[in-house]
């Protein structure tokens, strides 16, 4: 694996599958009586969060701890934005403290890229969500979840590990501002799935010719064709930004209610990166229905993040032998 995980666009099929396969092995740690392996003992992982995100932070924290890494949580209250400590000084500080990996969440697109490429520190950088750019571990856990749940509908490749070949996935909602959508469009495409993004035109990037996906403004026509539908969170500030007339209209046209969910093929699954706005982009009953794999996504998040930390910091050998040892 490369030195950093900044964008799923940087992952080729082989690299992405290596992460998923490693995650598959490491998932077994969760089922062991003692959920811990010694692989990253003595290594320091810093969770550098410039933006609140309890779910992502505790997922990374659990992943690092299961690998026996020392975890430091650094909630940076200020950033250069609020005239607090600059990103540069924070990076220099972490380097001086001997961080081996920095998991960064930042409200500004590109901050992880700068942390990785500026001459500030040597640690491995993992992007845990940057602005409206990318959230690669979310896409990886989504791919992992799709692969497990839809195994019967995936075409097996001639050689190598199973990817997502033959699947069709819809990503629905605020595509324009979604880092989850950007990461998923790249990764799902790399793994062989067809992707359709669905949004009102105001929440779709105007210049999307280079995106490896189809674009639709009409959810009802897309749903019957897909194996999975991924609903994106609608941020409150989009309402105030005038991107759509009202929550009610958004919900009517782009929300996944029971009527719409019934348009899905029987085997199709419903996903959401969380946290959900129940009743806005997704109806409660759909979120809690049998076809919802939302809680599985959270569970798989820990395994995928273990795999990323393991591959960046640890070894090249199979993770399984470590578990058995």
């Amino acid at each position: 694996m490369k030195a950093h995980l900044l964008s799923t666009a940087d992952l080729d099929r082989e690299g992405a599958l290596q992460i998923l396969d490693t995650a598959q092995e490491l998932a077994r740690v969760a089922d062991m009586p003692i959920k811990k392996m010694p692989t990253l003992r003595g290594r320091t992982v810093v969770n550098l969060f410039f933006e609140d995100s309890t779910r992502t932070r505790i997922s990374f924290e659990a992943a690092a701890k299961r690998l026996s890494a020392d975890v430091i949580n650094f909630a940076a209250k200020g950033s250069s934005v609020s005239k607090g400590e600059s990103l540069k000084d924070t990076a220099l500080t972490l380097a001086a403290m001997g961080a081996d990996a920095v998991v960064i969440r930042h409200s500004m697109s590109g901050a992880p890229h700068q942390l990785a490429h500026a001459d500030w520190m040597d640690a491995h950088v993992i992007n845990a969500g940057d602005g409206t750019h990318e959230h690669p571990t979310q896409a990886l856990l989504d791919a992992f979840t799709l692969r497990n749940h839809l195994a019967d509908h995936i075409s097996a490749p001639k050689q190598g590990s199973v990817g997502l070949d033959g699947l069709h996935v819809a990503i629905v909602g605020d595509v324009l501002h979604s880092r989850v959508a950007r990461s998923n469009v790249h990764l799902l495409n790399t793994l062989g799935a067809k992707v359709t993004v669905v949004a009102p035109p105001t929440l779709m990037p105007l210049h999307n010719d280079g995106w490896p996906c189809e674009v639709s403004y009409d959810l009802d026509t897309v749903l019957p064709q897909v194996d999975a539908v991924m609903m994106l969170r609608v941020q409150r500030e989009r309402m105030e930004g005038g991107f759509f007339p009202s929550e009610r209209e958004y919900s009517q046209r782009y929300g996944l209610d029971e009527r719409r969910a019934a348009l899905l093929p029987d085997h199709a699954v419903v996903m959401h990166p969380g946290p959900m706005n129940r009743g806005l982009e997704i109806a409660s009953r759909v979120a809690d229905s049998d076809r919802s794999v939302i809680i599985d996504q959270v569970r798989n998040g820990v395994s995928v993040r273990m795999a990323v930390l393991y591959l960046l910091l640890g070894g090249n050998e199979s993770a399984l032998s470590e578990v058995n040892a």
Binding site: S79, V81, K88, M108, H133, L206, H207, W211
Partner: protein, 427 residues
């Protein structure tokens, strides 16, 4: 001994001649002039141009002397071949009164490296509401003729109309920074393919073009003079071309960086490439080059915008807009336009026309006997590698860092005095 002979130089790329300079003016031009009591500067066949004139710089004084001062900015200007620069009004305090413009004017005179002409703010505090005392600034020692809220657009159509009308009394010109604010709130880079992938908020071309379209109508209606700062899009070039064809009194400017760089550079997330207006696409670059070649765009203006390290060494979203330009301008223009403009053409866009637009009588003049000796010498065959640490500016935010550029300035003369002399023409 103040007399100098520039030996073996080619005015505007023409025949080899010697040029005798004394008392700040050109005294004689000819082959093998007698030397007598003059200092000889060997040109080795270098190109002699009129001193360059830049209608668009930010010298940061008063207010941000940590980023640039009039002294360091004009040092960069002299090294870039400039003999006159215009300092934009967005200093602290804003150059919106006779007192501030006279201060800037005086600082330039004291530095003595390059004439500094302050640009007056159009509105008080650049707020776009109330006209600044344009007449007082025009009547001051700085004799301001170019007015701009640069950094901000004069967004209100009525304020813009009044400004265009008011400056007719003293043959002023309004230099508009065209940016419809409501379309660019929070925007960081050109809106397009690249911004959609990088997750950076897009700055659409129409934000520039809609203001330009409106102002072209306004200036035609009130019969005044409009100058458009830093045109950045193919659509803007077309609007100006059509307006000129129907006789609108408009002039337009393009920066060296918009002639040469594209938004692909934002993929580095390196804020040195963050600028207002943003870098666009190759399609726009090509249209801007066409526009400069055919005269639709009258002048090159650098929009030299120094920033302290900490204002660029940060997240893209937090970083200040702007890049250095004075010392690289001629080289970048030669690189971008060398196959489209000859030396006379480059002198026209970088000296003659800017001087005409601003009403300077002693700059951008022909290289003839009796004319003021505001001159610069260019070695057309040399290349140099841009090292921000080596530049004259106090700041280091050059987007051309590490690039190899053609055409090095070797000598600059302001009224016959040497303001820059490279190692190559040392005695």
């Amino acid at each position: 001994m103040s007399a100098k002979v520039l030996r073996n130089v080619r005015p505007l790329g023409g025949e080899l001649v010697d040029v005798l300079i004394d008392d700040g003016v050109i005294k004689a031009i000819g082959a093998k002039l007698p030397i007598e009591d003059a200092e000889v500067i060997e040109g080795n066949g270098a190109i002699l141009l009129p001193g360059l004139v830049d209608l668009h710089t930010h010298l940061r004084e008063p207010g941000r002397e940590d980023a640039e001062t009039v002294l360091t900015g004009t040092a960069a200007a002299a090294r870039g071949g400039f003999t006159a620069v215009f300092a934009m009004a967005n200093s602290t305090p804003v150059a919106d009164t006779a007192a501030v413009v006279e201060q800037v004017w005086r600082l330039g005179q004291e530095a003595g490296l390059c004439d500094v002409h302050p640009v007056g703010a159009v509105t008080v505090g650049l707020k776009g509401q109330q006209l600044a005392e344009l007449g007082s600034m025009a009547d001051s020692a700085a004799k301001v003729r170019v007015f701009s809220d640069d950094g901000h657009c004069v967004n209100d159509a009525l304020v813009m109309r009044r400004a265009l009308e008011y400056v007719k009394a003293f043959d002023g010109v309004i230099a508009q920074h065209a940016q419809e604010a409501s379309l660019t709130a929070g925007a960081d880079m050109n809106e397009g393919e690249v911004s959609s992938q990088l997750g950076l908020k897009g700055w659409p071309r129409v934000a520039e073009e809609s203001i330009i379209a409106r102002d072209l109508m306004l200036v035609q209606y009130v019969d005044s003079r409009l100058h458009l700062c830093h045109i950045s899009t193919a659509g803007s070039v077309q609007l100006v071309r059509e307006a000129k064809a129907r006789g609108v009194n408009v002039t337009a400017e393009v920066t060296p960086h918009h002639l040469s760089l594209t938004d692909e550079l934002a993929r580095t997330y390196d804020p040195v490439f963050k600028v207002n207006p943003p870098l666009r696409t190759q399609l726009d670059v090509d249209a801007l080059r066409d526009g400069l070649a055919d005269g639709t765009l009258d002048v090159v203006g650098t929009d030299h915008a120094p920033h302290a390290d900490e204002d660029k060494d940060c997240e893209w979203g937090c970083a200040s807009f702007g890049m250095l330009g004075l010392q690289t301008a001629l080289s970048v223009v030669v690189d971008a336009m060398g196959d489209r403009l000859d030396w006379a053409g480059i002198a026209d866009r970088m000296s003659v026309r800017p001087a005409e637009i601003a009403g300077l009588s002693d700059q951008g003049r022909p290289i003839e006997v009796g004319e003021p000796a505001n001159l610069t010498l260019v070695d057309p065959d040399s290349t140099w590698i841009v090292d921000p640490i080596e530049l004259g500016s106090k700041s280091r935010n050059s987007p051309f860092a590490g690039r190899s550029l053609p055409a090095q300035i070797t000598l600059t003369l302001l009224r016959g005095n040497i303001t820059y002399r490279s190692q190559k023409v040392a005695q």
